[in-house]
Symmetry: C2
Subunit: 475 residues, 2 copies
């Protein structure tokens, strides 16, 4: 047998390799019991060893007959900065060469999650008695893990809680940063449940060239924008890791529990850490994992460790929660469920995630109406329109790659209006300038309203949201 066969393992999931390995083990035993030719046995054994090595590389676990791999947390396709075509998706990098953006259907296959299909959207509407949020209707939240279990329990009057977060790497937040919060606020309302929001200022300190004081200040400033999204103070706890770790022995205990059950091999496989990375980065994933367990918040859940958790987040955060879901049963906790969103495109096009450090890559929450207009119209918003009006009228524009249209799918709530824009733009009836005008007229009042609400968020209100305390919650 050639080496190619073992190398082919790289295209298989750990479970598939596990099965192939088991088969190969049986084959070796069969050859031996038949007293087969020594060369044949040796070849079979060599392949078996190669596969075991591959299996360990992928799973961080030794192959043991009869013990299938635990959840697929480090498959090659799930690995850090791994590539499928040209898409790279991990917590620190999102790039694609496709102007339409990342291929999300492929991502679902790679990550082993489930598609949010019409059936699930319908079910959420039925359970909540509310129209689904536009992010669900339009596939912006497109993937999930265990959402049906959450709904099953909810229908039996077993509540759950929401957990989302933000890495506060600068004072400036852009509209893309609001996506998980807009959606989480909706979930909080329609399910009437508590929410915890983790501000990973410790992560930013570890990854960026920032002081602890800067990271903590960004936490507070970002919390103002988050609060301005309209969260219910009686049901929402926002916490800085730097503060809460030093305020909650229960939280630290859960961090240590996770840290005991994850090896360097595993985080290397999941996040691509290397031996040159600092030990803070290496152990940080446990800190992002811990809020997935209700016992991290005894003040909210009266010490209950069995309240299920639902995490709405962008798909690039999934590696953290694949790890969390792998660990959960081993430390006696429930696996968190997830709802994954697509990425919000940069003004320059959907190939990259926006960057808070490039002021022209997006609309910032501090932008004036004039700045919004300039960014959209003048130079920065990638267009799917044709070069001349004549050509545009004749051939129509391409809404699929047009950033202004993409932004409208995020922020224009009226489905009919959006569909009409799409049709008119595609037919050529609507010109690029007119499309941009629609977007400007959607964004300007939205951002102004946000700024007005943010001004109302006093230091006392921030303090209130960030104080560990009892929340309205019945289970």
């Amino acid at each position: 047998m050639s080496e190619c066969q073992a190398d082919a393992c790289e295209l298989l999931t750990p479970m598939e390799i596990y099965k192939t390995l088991t088969a190969q083990g049986n084959k070796v035993r069969a050859l031996k019991s038949e007293n087969a030719d020594k060369a044949d046995i040796d070849t079979a054994v060599q392949l078996l060893l190669k596969m075991k090595c591959e299996y360990k590389k992928l799973t961080g676990q030794d192959y043991k007959a009869g013990c299938p791999p635990t959840e697929d947390i480090t498959s090659p396709e799930n690995g850090p900065g791994s590539e499928d075509g040209d898409d790279v998706v991990d917590p620190w990098n999102v790039t694609t060469n496709n102007a339409k953006g990342v291929d999300y259907d492929k991502l679902i296959v790679r990550f082993g999650s489930s598609k949010i299909d019409k059936e699930l959207v319908d079910r959420i509407e039925k359970v909540t008695g509310q129209q689904a949020h536009r992010f669900l209707r339009r596939g912006i939240f497109f993937s999930h893990r265990d959402m049906h279990q959450v709904l099953d329990a909810y229908e039996k009057n077993k509540s759950f809680y929401l957990y989302t977060g933000r890495g506060p790497s600068s004072e400036a937040m852009h509209v893309g940063h609001l996506i998980p919060f807009i959606f989480t606020k909706w979930l909080q309302e329609v399910f009437n449940i508590p929410l915890v929001i983790q501000m990973t200022d410790d992560e930013k300190y570890l990854w960026k060239d920032l002081t602890l004081e800067e990271c903590h200040r960004y936490t507070v400033e970002n919390a103002r924008d988050i609060i301005a999204c309209g969260f219910d103070v009686n049901k929402t706890f926002i916490f800085s890791d730097l503060d809460y770790m030093g305020m909650s022995p229960s939280f630290y205990r859960n961090v240590v529990k996770v840290q005991k059950h994850v090896t360097f091999n595993q985080v290397k496989g999941i996040f691509g850490f290397t031996d040159s990375d600092c030990i803070g980065k290496i152990s940080f994933p446990a800190i992002q994992a811990a809020p997935s367990f209700s016992s991290s918040f005894p003040q909210i859940f009266n010490g209950r460790k069995d309240v299920p958790c639902l995490i709405p987040c962008a798909i690039d955060q999934d590696p953290y929660f694949r790890m969390t879901r792998d660990v959960a049963p081993r430390i006696g906790y429930i696996k968190p469920a997830l709802l994954h969103s697509t990425f919000f495109p940069a003004l320059q096009g959907a190939q990259t995630k926006m960057s808070a450090s490039d002021p022209n890559s997006s609309i910032f929450l501090t932008d004036t109406p004039k700045q919004i207009k300039n960014k959209v119209i003048n130079k920065h918003a990638f267009s799917g329109g044709k070069d001349t009006i004549e050509e545009h009228r004749q051939f129509g524009g391409n809404a699929d790659v047009d950033v202004s249209f993409m932004y409208l799918t995020f922020f224009l709530d009226d489905d009919e209006q959006l569909e009409k824009i799409r049709q008119d733009y595609t037919s050529g009836a609507l010109l690029t300038g007119e499309l941009k005008k629609c977007l400007i007229e959607t964004l300007q009042p939205m951002i102004s309203a946000h700024q007005d609400r943010r001004k109302q968020v006093t230091d006392e209100i921030v303090q209130q949201f960030m104080t560990p305390r009892k929340l309205d919650f019945e289970y």
Copy 2:
């Protein structure tokens, strides 16, 4: 040139390799500028690369011309479980084949610390106006780092604080565990300074097959024994990591600072961690480092970050503090000073450290007078005496390998009496049975007195010692 030359690097310190590397770099440049024979240049370059690789392996740093290695924290001899002759000394293993115990003079050279010589002992007596503790007089605390700087500052009325600790892996403590505490209590008294005692229950959870609850319970039980050593409650703070991490944002901030400035390469070099170790172990050294900085205890030091720290500990803990001293200046803190003790021998002989899990390996703090007598006399205490009384009278005993005599050096305070015992045993005038009787008569009242004091340590007193609070302290 043969490979042997590069392999010889393994016997050199990082600084020595650095110098050899610099010389080799110069040689390569010289050969090139002379247009020397290509084969010669290639050979020289290959050796250079090999040495660079070796350098990185040892230091965790890339070789840069003009930048000598920072403090020698991962020299091959300092490495985990490294061997010099047959001595192995790291936080988890201490073994030697020499019946006299570990060769401590060699250890000073390997670890790059300084010997506690007569001059230093005299100086401590002069500064404190007290006779030196028997552990100093007898070389039981035998090695130090920067003790002269601590005394320089103290003479200028700049105070310091003490930091020591214990890993609570079981309820049972033995007499050997008391060594650092007996000595630290003396230091606290003669210098009149505050003391913090770290109970690394998180470490024990990560390393052992114990629950968090068990580790925390051992912390409280061990704290009782520590308090029974007579510490001043107004100057002593005892803390459980599991509790204090969740009570002090300042402590967690220092942990994260250290975690940002230590790489996996470094802890691999220092502690011998592997890719299969859990991420909790990998990041734990930062938690043992953090109490070395006064800003970890704002309640004690009013937020001052410049109060020097002196750490009395057994020499096997030095790797943690080599790392700490390497990091300190890079995060704007003072390097802690250290006083290192030898190991307390097991009853079975000085080749190994005692084990809390083997009840016959030492005298436990819970032993009855009868148990003490049985352990010492009957079977367990390794003797340096001869096989028969006649032989013993004729040739004398060997005090250097006799565990009863070693124990007396730890616990019999009277220098003259101890010296007389040594001489009489060596000459044969004192029989093994008589020597053992001396030890029994020393240990029995000592352990009884400890048990009496421990009984006085109520839950309230433990609570008081373990509450973060202001201590008596002037700086």
